[in-house]
Symmetry: C2
Subunit: 347 residues, 2 copies
DNA sequence: CACCTCGATTGGATCGATCTAGGTCGATCG
DNA sequence: CGATCGACCTAGATCGATCCAATCGAGGTG
C-alpha cells in the first residue's frame, strides 16, 4: 500500500496521495482519516490533530471522483450558459454567474456550464442528468413556453429557477425572482420626488409578462401620486432604434419630462433621441433604465438604472438548492427580492 | 443484479440504469457494453446494434463519477471566473466564456467555474488540482507578476493561457492570444483609408505590455504611411473620464481628426468630449475603440471597434488542451490570432 | 483431424472514498 | 472483580465503469 513513498516536495506527485496513504502514515485506519475530514467531532482531539498534520504534510485532498461515486453526488450545479445577445445592453448574466460561482463556493459547490441549443432545449439537461454529472440545475430562462422547467419537474430533477413561472399555473417548482414592478415603482417615485409629473413609459410588447409586470410598477406609482398615464406609454421591440423612435413620438405628442424604460437598451434609444434634439439628459429630460448594465455605467452621462440584487438572488438560489438536496422542507415556493436604484446624472 | 426491473417510462428512475443492467438485458457482458460505447469498432455489427438498442431503451448513460474514478479524468476544464470590472466596458469575458463552453462541448468537455481570490491567487487552482476535479485549466489573466502560470507549470498541471507571457522569458507554457497590434494597425489603416492624417492614440499607462503592444500597431501603421505621431499620443488610466480628458487635451494641442483607443472605455471618454464640444462622431471626428463591447454596439452612434476572434481563440485553446491531455506533441508554443474591425458610424 | 490464428467476449480486479457492522479499550458500577 | 457502557477505531463491502488477462469460437492450414 505504501505508494508515493518518495516524492518531491515542490511538484505535484505523479499520483496524488490517497486516503489510504494518509491513514498509513498517520498510523490510523482509512475510516478515521475520512472522519477527520468529514466528521471531525468523532475523533479524539489528539488523533484529529495528528491526522490533520499528516494531511497537511502530504497535501492530501479527497479524490473527487471516488467521493462522487460513493456518495452519488457531484457537488456540481449545472447552468446553461447563453451569451448576451449582440446589440442589446443586457449584461446581467455576467454578474449573475459570478455571484452564483461565489455563492456556490461558500457551501462547497462548483458551477458547471453547458451550452444551450434552441432546437433541443432539454438535451443538455438530459445528458448531465442521466450521467449524474450534476446535483442540480439553475434555470434562468423561464419565459413563456419554455419546456425546461416542466421537463425537469417531470424528471424529478432538483432545480431552482431564476424567474417566476409567469403564465403557468400548474408549475410547482421553486423559484427566486426580482420584483421588477417594485424596481420600476422605485424609479418612478424617484422621478416624482424630483418634481416630474409627466413621466413616460417605454416598455416591451404586450406578450412579455416581465414587461407587463414592470409596466405595472409605473402605472401603480403614477396613480398613487394622482398622476395620469394617458398617452404616456409605448410598447416596442427591445432594440435601440425602437426606443429612439418611441421617445421621439412621445416627445412630440405628449411632452413628457421624464422617461422610464423597461431596459437599458431602450433607455439608450431615448438618450439618442435627446442627443439628436440637443436635449441634455438629466437637466432637460430625465431618463431611467433597467439592469444597471455596463452601458449605463460607462455612458458619458451616467444612466440612472434599476439594479437587480443578483448577489442576493444567487445566495438565495444556492440556499434553496441545498435545502432541496438535503431533503429539508422548502418553506416557500418562491422568493421575491427587491431591486435598488443606481442613481446617476441622467435623472 | 436485475435492479430497476420495473420503471415508469416517463420519469427518471430512482437510480439510473447501470452498465451491468444494460449488459444483462442485452445478453452480453459488461465489457461488451463498455466497448459499444467507447470502442464500437471492436464489436460485430449485429451485436453492436443490439447493445445500442438496449442502451436506447433503458436510456442508459455512463455514470460520470465511476468513469472518472477509473480513467482518472473528469472531462472538466477549470476556468477562474472573475466578473467584469464595474465602470469599464469590457464584456469580452462573457463572449469568451460562451465560446469556450461551445468549443468544449464539441469534444466532450465541460467548463467548471471557480471564483478568484486576489489574496490567494492559486488557492482555487490548488484545490481543484489536488482533488483531481478538473483535467486542465484555462488561464485568462496572464498579466505582469501573475503567479498562476508559473505555479501551474511547476505543478505540471496541464493548462493553456489566453494571453502571452509578455515579460517572462522563462515561461515555457502554451498560450493563445490575439494580435492587438495588428488590430490597432487595422483600425489605423482604416482611418488613413478614409483620408485621415492626424490620427491620435489614447492608450494605457506604460507599464501595460498589452497597451504598449497595441500602441505599436498605431505607430507602425502611421510611419508606414509616412505620417507623424508626434504629440498625438496619450497614456492614461482605463476609465471613461481619463479618456475624455485626454481627448480634450489632444484636441486643443494637436487638432487630430481621428482617435484610436486601446479600449472601448477610453473611446467612450472621447465620445463624451466630442458631445460636449458639439462635434459629431464619424462626421467631424472619427473614433475607434477596442473589444467590440456591448457599449460599442448599443451606443447611439455605433462605435467602430476592434473585435477579438474569441470563438477562434476558444477553439484553439480546446484543441491545444486536447493535445496536451492526449500527450500528443504540441507543435507550437504559442498561437497568435488576427482580430477584425467592426465598422460602425463613428468612423 | 489436430493445430493455430485472431477477433469477439468474459469475469475478476481495480480506481479511492464512504458505509456498515463489528471490535478494542479504558472507565464506571453493582 | 467481572460485567457494562460508550467513545473511538478497524476491516470488509460497496458505488459503477474500465482495465486486464484469459477464454471462446470460427475459419484457415498442414
Amino acid at each position: 500500500m505504501a505508494r508515493n513513498e518518495h516524492r518531491s516536495g515542490s511538484t505535484l506527485p505523479v499520483t496524488p496521495p490517497t486516503l489510504a496513504d494518509v491513514a498509513e502514515r498517520a498510523g490510523v485506519s482509512r475510516q478515521t482519516v475520512s472522519n477527520a475530514v468529514n466528521n471531525p467531532d468523532l475523533l479524539r482531539p489528539d488523533t484529529l490533530e495528528r491526522v490533520r498534520q499528516t494531511i497537511a504534510e502530504l497535501g492530501y485532498s479527497p479524490n473527487r471522483a471516488a467521493r462522487n461515486l460513493r456518495t452519488r453526488t457531484s457537488s456540481l450545479i449545472g447552468l446553461r450558459f447563453a451569451p448576451a445577445q449582440e446589440g442589446t445592453a443586457n449584461a446581467a448574466m455576467d454578474r449573475f454567474v459570478h455571484s452564483l460561482v461565489e455563492a456556490s463556493e461558500e457551501v462547497g459547490y462548483h458551477v458547471l456550464l453547458f451550452p444551450g441549443d434552441d432546437e433541443d432545449p432539454v438535451g443538455g439537461y438530459d445528458n448531465l442528468l442521466r450521467s449524474t454529472a450534476v446535483d442540480a440545475f439553475v434555470v434562468t430562462d423561464t419565459y413563456l413556453g419554455n419546456p425546461q422547467a416542466a421537463w425537469l419537474t417531470q424528471q424529478r430533477a432538483p432545480f431552482v429557477a431564476f424567474g417566476r413561472p409567469w403564465e403557468d399555473d400548474v408549475a410547482r417548482h421553486v423559484w427566486v425572482d426580482v420584483d421588477g414592478a417594485a424596481g420600476i415603482a422605485l424609479a418612478t417615485q424617484h422621478l416624482i420626488d424630483r418634481g416630474h409629473t409627466r413621466i413616460a413609459w417605454i416598455g416591451w410588447r404586450k406578450d412579455s409578462p416581465i414587461g407587463e409586470d414592470r409596466r405595472s410598477g409605473w402605472v401603480r406609482t403614477m396613480h398613487q401620486n394622482g398622476l395620469s398615464t394617458t398617452g404616456l406609454a409605448s410598447r416596442v421591440e427591445d432594440v435601440v432604434h425602437s426606443g429612439a423612435e418611441a421617445a421621439a413620438v412621445l416627445l412630440d405628442e405628449s411632452a413628457p419630462t421624464a422617461f422610464v424604460c423597461a431596459s437599458d437598451t431602450l433607455a439608450m434609444g431615448v438618450l439618442h433621441t435627446l442627443w439628436i434634439r440637443q436635449l441634455a439628459p438629466g437637466r432637460d429630460i430625465a431618463v431611467v433604465g433597467f439592469d444597471d448594465s455596463q452601458v449605463a455605467q460607462v455612458y458619458p452621462v451616467g444612466l440612472t438604472s434599476v439594479r437587480q440584487p443578483l448577489e442576493d438572488v444567487a445566495v438565495e438560489i444556492i440556499r434553496t438548492i441545498r435545502a432541496l438536496l438535503t431533503h429539508q422542507p422548502v418553506e416557500t415556493r418562491g422568493v421575491l427580492l427587491e431591486p435598488t436604484l443606481a442613481i446617476r446624472e441622467s435623472s
